[in-house]
């Protein structure tokens, strides 16, 4: 039965991937990517990876689609029909795929118990983690204790990516004032009262669920990464329904920038404190008198740091995309191009020239028509 579910889910994934290749409308592509994410999350549940499924469902089917939609609204939603040498690409892909399939021939069969991957560290994690770390969820104890240094590096990567988006998309502060004298435009959030009322009632529960996932991660699926994304999703929902300006008034962007840094620092400083207490970097045993209590304290603190950084970075990324988009719409409406670089001005000029030549040709054809009538 499980095999049947496997096969069906994997076939769906292939069908959706092929549909993504063939679709030209990028909006549809993003929707298909969301379905793809949700399907792979269901597949992870079948394969017993509940923590991974949790993360993939909130990231692959949620945040990533949202960010892509925000990007598409700034870059246009149709792909140009021409392609680059599909035959050569197909050749390269077929050769690579063939070699990879050849490589799988001597792999251990799917689900086999004596595969090499299950022989080295996994038995130690499964048999001894309860005595050594005292947390029922083995994934959490590996993530936050055995491989904590690894996770620290990953949180640093997420933090750096947030900084990168900030430096690429952030707008100069002084431009904020332009909206004050502008009459409020009719946005989605000003029309749909049902959505606003319902979501206002739902957002506190989403935040509460995020906190549950954060602090229950030791005992069930969950942890800082998932909680951070869910927390960010609630605030992004607020920003979408009540407008970016209102959201920024409640959740200031600089506060989130501070929180992103604080999360990473909290994580690293737990390591430094354990150094000062005579242990190794990120060795939580020395944090309290009882090693197990020390482990619990360490895991709680670093998961909190992870949650802070992930939530703040996701919110920073979304706010910057949405802010950029509003500024672009504003500038095209006002016809003042001060926000956008001179190159775009040139393009706009080109397009107006194009319009005038089109007009000329139209006039020309009219005169030609008239002449014909005269004749």
């Amino acid at each position: 039965m499980e095999t049947l579910v496997d096969v069906v889910l994997l076939s769906f994934l292939v069908v959706i991937a092929i549909a993504i290749v063939r679709t030209k409308d990028l909006l549809a592509v993003v929707m298909l990517t969301g379905i793809y994410g949700l399907l792979s999350a269901s597949f992870f549940v079948v394969l017993d990876a509940v923590d991974v499924a949790f993360t993939e469902a909130s990231v692959g089917a949620g945040i990533s689609g949202l960010l892509m939609l925000a990007a598409i609204s700034m870059t246009g939603r149709t792909e140009s029909p021409k392609r680059h040498k599909p035959l050569l690409a197909l050749f390269v892909v077929l050769i690579t795929g063939g070699m990879l399939i050849y490589g799988t021939m001597d792999m251990p069969y799917f689900g086999s118990f004596d595969a090499p991957i299950h022989q080295h560290v996994a038995p130690r994690y499964i048999n001894d983690s309860m005595q050594e770390v005292g947390v029922p969820n083995i994934v959490t104890s590996v993530l936050a204790s055995y491989r904590a240094f690894d996770t620290l590096g990953e949180v640093a990567v997420i933090f750096t990516a947030g900084i990168g988006v900030l430096s690429l998309l952030a707008l100069p502060q002084r431009r904020k004032s332009y909206r004050l004298d502008e009459p409020k435009k009719e946005q989605m959030y000003q029309q749909h009262i049902v959505l606003r009322v319902i979501s206002k009632a739902l957002i506190p529960f989403i935040l509460l669920f995020a906190l549950y996932v954060q602090f229950h991660g030791d005992f069930g699926p969950g942890g800082g990464f998932q909680a951070g994304v869910i927390f960010a999703a609630a605030i992004i929902l607020y920003a979408m329904l009540f407008g970016l300006d209102n959201a920024k008034r409640v959740f200031s962007l600089s506060l989130f920038q501070l929180l992103a840094a604080i999360g990473l620092l909290l994580y690293a400083s737990v390591g430094v404190v354990s150094l000062f207490n005579g242990g190794n970097f990120l060795d939580y045993n020395v944090l309290a008198d009882d090693p197990i209590a020390g482990q619990h304290l360490g895991i709680l603190l670093i998961e909190l740091g992870v949650g802070c950084t992930v939530a703040s970075v996701m919110i920073i990324i979304f706010f910057n995309f949405a802010g950029r988009r509003e500024a672009q719409q504003h500038s095209t409406k006002q016809n003042c191009h001060e926000l956008i670089s001179p190159e775009l001005n040139r393009n706009v000029l080109n397009s107006t020239e194009l319009n005038s030549t089109e007009l000329n040709s139209a006039e020309l054809s009219i005169t030609v028509l008239n002449n014909g009538e005269v004749k």
Partner: protein
């Protein structure tokens, strides 16, 4: 035999579909979607390797003796969040490219680059 390696073959197929999108499509957003598909197929590969027949999710419980391998779960769980952060960085780059070139099609960008090179 066929069912034993079926997962890996599908993973290779998905990976190649993503790879094809990356090299054969000119639209930068479509390329990022292709990368996402490639990435997800690697995730599926790792999780498939960690699976154990009639195993259980790696959360310790009474009366369960066989668990799936938790190590790939940990690696992929963090990789997913790192992946969305880097994808967001890529999308931000695409937005900036659109602002300065007025297009996100690879060939149009290349033509504009060559034009400016010829001028200088």
């Amino acid at each position: 035999m066929i069912l034993g390696l079926y997962n890996y073959w599908i993973v290779v197929l998905l990976m190649m579909i993503g790879f094809y999108i990356v090299i054969a499509h000119g639209n930068l957003i479509k390329k990022l979607v292709g990368l996402t598909i490639f990435q997800t197929s690697v995730f599926i590969f790792y999780i498939s390797m960690g699976n154990v027949d009639s195993g259980s999710a790696p959360i310790l419980a009474e009366g369960v003796s066989r668990y799936s391998n938790p190590l790939p779960h940990v690696l992929i769980l963090t990789a997913i969040v790192v992946g969305i952060a880097t994808t967001a960085l890529g999308l931000a780059l695409v937005v900036r490219i659109k602002e300065s070139y007025g297009s996100i099609e690879e060939d149009e960008i290349q033509i504009q680059d060559q034009l400016t090179e010829d001028k200088t």
